[in-house]
Amino acid sequence: MSTYRVRGKGRVDASKPIVFTFDGKPYTGLKGDTVASALLSHGVHLMGRSFKYHRPRGAIAAGSEEPNALIGTRRSAGRFEPNTRATVQEIWEGLETNSQNKFPSLKWDVGAVNDAAYMMFSAGFYYKTFMWPRSFWDKVYEPFIRAAAGLGVSPTEHDPDTYASRNLYCDLLIVGAGPAGIAAAREAAGKGLSVVLVDENAEMGGSILSEPQAKIEGKTSWDWLSDELADLKAAGVKLMTRTTAIGYYHENLIALVEKLTDHLPTLPADTPRERMWRVRAKQVVLAQGALEKPLVFHGNDRPGVMLAGSAQTYLHRYGVKVGNSPVVVTSHDSAWYAAFDLQDAGAYVQAIVDTRAQVRQDLQAEARSRGIPVKLSHTVTATGGRLRVNNVRVNPLSGTNVGAGQWIKCDALLMSGGWTPSLHLFSHTKGSLAWDDDLTTFLPKDTPEDCVITGASRGLWGTEAALRDGATRVGEALAKLGVEATATEYTVADDRTGSGVMMRELPTDRSPGKAKAFVDYQNDVTAKDLRLAVREGMRSIEHVKRYTTNGMATDQGKMSNINGLNIAADALGKKQPQVGLTTFRPPYTPTTFGAFAGYHRGEHFEVVRKTQIDAWAETQGAVFEPVGQWRRARYFPKAGETMDQAVTRECAATRASVGIFDASTLGKIEVVGPDAAEFVNRMYTNPFLKLAPGKCRYGLLLGDDGFIRDDGVIARVDENRFHVTTTTGGAARVLNMMEDYLQTEWPDLNVWLTSTTEQWSTVALNGPNAAKLLAPFVEGIELTEEAFPHMSCVNCTVAGYPARLWRVSFTGEVGFEINVAAPYGRDLWEKLWEAGQQYDITPYGTETMHVLRAEKGYIIVGQDTDGTVTPADAGMDWAVGKKKDDFVGMRGLKRPDLVAENRKQLVGLLTEDNSWLEEGAQIVFDPKQPVPMTMRGHVTSSYNQGTTGRPIALAVIEGGHSKMGETVYIPMPDRTIAAKITGTVFYDPENSRLKI
């Protein structure tokens, strides 16, 4: 048995030894140990290095509030996690753990030179140190910041674990299974309510686990606890351990993270590592307890310096003495019990140092009876020891005078600055807090949520008080649930109650300016930093926090917020509530990305929408690109082809014979009803009232501000039915906008809107042979210029399928779009593909589609427009109905700014040296002007794979329409490119190719 293990103490199983490693060295612990308790049982206090100064650090606490003892844990490939709290991680056979922030070793660390340079890294050092000289950035500052950024090391491998999420609805959720939480659950149990009791620890019981001496209702506290938990379970209360309430959100939505496997030696099959519960509770009881405050003095971070209450937890819960010759320093009664218990467990307590002059007589008598030296009115001014505390400097206090120091040898220093109610979740509810002068702490006041807070979380002390309060306070919640409460009156013998005084930094006879008295251990913030921040002008605690980083560590200020506030308030000469408390935010404890992501990983991260023809494109080796949520074929490379080569070939083949294109992703909205024509006419700029059934028209959609929002071809299927198409990415937005106008501005119109995007498969054929290829498949219409001219639509049969056949073109070639019921799309496509072989039919993707349309000057909304482009800017005044009374955007187009001179207008660009322009490149008029130059526009589209034999580009340029033939310049990092402004149509300006 290891040296510091105490036989007969603790809840660990002495018959079940477990071997794990720490920095490669094997250690034996017992089942039930955490990494911290197991290491402490071997006298190992040094567990890590601090983040900024690389100071040696050990566990200061025994629970999830631990700021120092952060370790890396590893199970197998991919299962590495940095910054695990050693005080929470349970050991299992084979667990590998490692210390962090050390180089080359934990005991001898190079980064500790930062510690020697302490004065340089004081408050606000991030803001000051890296200001100058500028040349230091690359070589000095950035590498330093990168090396120092973050704790531990990120995992590099894919996480093989799975994470689950669930919803849970219950009547009553109780957070915290200490005495108050258990008493609350007891009142609610067996009354027909669904009750959930959660606790972040492996075992329920909270402080009871560390207080075996107490007798509750005549039983030992541990017997009472196990009986009570069994009863609750039998009564149907859902008990959840290793489950942390990480956040309290609106309307009693609480997020719980349940850890399912981190404590297991072998991973059970099909079990997620963690499960995120979204609990919607009708009523909530918060019973999170209180956290012990460290004392602030020079050297309070040395390994072996620890919270007194945590030492008690190590003793009673894990059977571990944290030292054989500890010294206790305190301003609160509770630490006296730690001294007594350790002495009774075989340690020799060297002294109880209490800053107070008056301490309860019974405590002093207990100390005397055990032979423990007591030093009242004393302070601690320093500690010694390199990697572990080995002595402590104690000085007498008289008034504000600090007397001569005396060194006392020790192997642990246990401190207590009193207790802070845990108000994290209460604060998440936007609950208000009230400062309590007696307890020198904030207490919970009002909350807008259906929630009560009980026990040590509201400043009560002692098991009996917590039990009674839990039983009483839950009554409010039960009453709202329509259940009468009884408020059991518990009786506890050998209860430990007490009180204390608040200390800021402990008084010292040394220069406080040189003291390394830590307030935020994890971020290495000292009392001196806080005072410096105030001297440098920080007035609000929020500013002090950000300037010093106090409370910004992953412990969320659990250790540091109140001490930081007390010191800042003192430095400002104000009362604490006037300085304010920083806001607690979720999550309560560090939470894995996996828990948040849940099932939404890999292919489940986002929906991928695929058309009916997508699988065909895949078999043809298409390269895909995401467009909105759609996966679209971008191009169809033949063996050895680059994208440019493939697109050039696809473009040429389409213009030469026929290309086939999957247009199914276009948004489609069916507009139906007696007022359908009126509605479409009001929404779009173009006139639609007189569009005859069987005809298509291009439609331009504006916002009421006059800017282009979307476009698409609209077919009048019959008198009261329009088939509207939208851009692929704009479908949902357009439907939302249409619904908005229809429902809220024109509810008198008798119209129905239905999204039909996924109901149709749309196959586009383009090219001089398109009609020849398609004609044999079509029944019901002759594909001649006379019978079916450009911009016609008809209901007919294609390849035996009922179809809406359109004669439209987005390429400048003869074009058809065949809409059939979605499931028939693949078959139709394959039939056309087969028959098309005689015409060398070529499938093309979105890239070729973009090139072909750009050659014709057809815009793509969102690429050539950016939300500030009007129809006139885009050269599309022809699309705006001149005789309409109103349409969305009509009044907007007359706004002064939209009719002003010199707006950016869409034009073509041809580079003088035939080079290709980058999309997004900025355009200037005078290339010789000094930097920063006046930018006059930018390139919106640019291609060099087309049929014109040279690169073409579209651009928006100030006053572009009146600058035809002028030269503009595009400055690039390596050179400046000259380009001539042209019209936007680069190919077949007479539209002769649209004729069959």
């Binding site: 959100y249 009421d704 939302n736 619904e739 429902q743 809220t744």
Partner: protein, 101 residues
């Protein structure tokens, strides 16, 4: 996550089903062409940006699809009421008084 009562469905459902749709009770003028530039700019751009109870529109996007109106406190996210589009603007003082009870 907030829960929102859809006045059309008559059910209180998670916020995820809904989409915010800007300030409520801003009517598009009957004859936009008759509007002065100032009036049209007022309609297009000027909004209250309230700190506190705010009249606003929501859409039950992943439900019935209807737009409706609500009074929500922008500080606390509390919904005092939701009501159908076209119904009159409720009296704020009365709403707040009822909420206090």
């Amino acid at each position: 996550m907030i829960q929102i009562h859809c006045p059309y469905c008559g059910e209180t459902l998670p916020e995820l089903e809904f989409a915010y749709a800007g300030e409520a009770h801003i009517d598009r003028p009957e004859s936009p062409s008759a509007q002065t530039d100032e009036e049209w700019a007022e309609f297009l751009f000027m909004r209250q940006n309230v700190k506190g109870p705010h009249f606003e529109r929501w859409r039950h996007l992943h439900g019935c699809g209807r737009f409706f109106n609500a009074v929500r406190n922008t500080i606390t996210d509390r919904f005092y009421i939701t009501y159908k589009a076209g119904e009159p603007r409720p009296d704020l003082a009365t709403l707040l008084e009822e909420d206090n009870k």
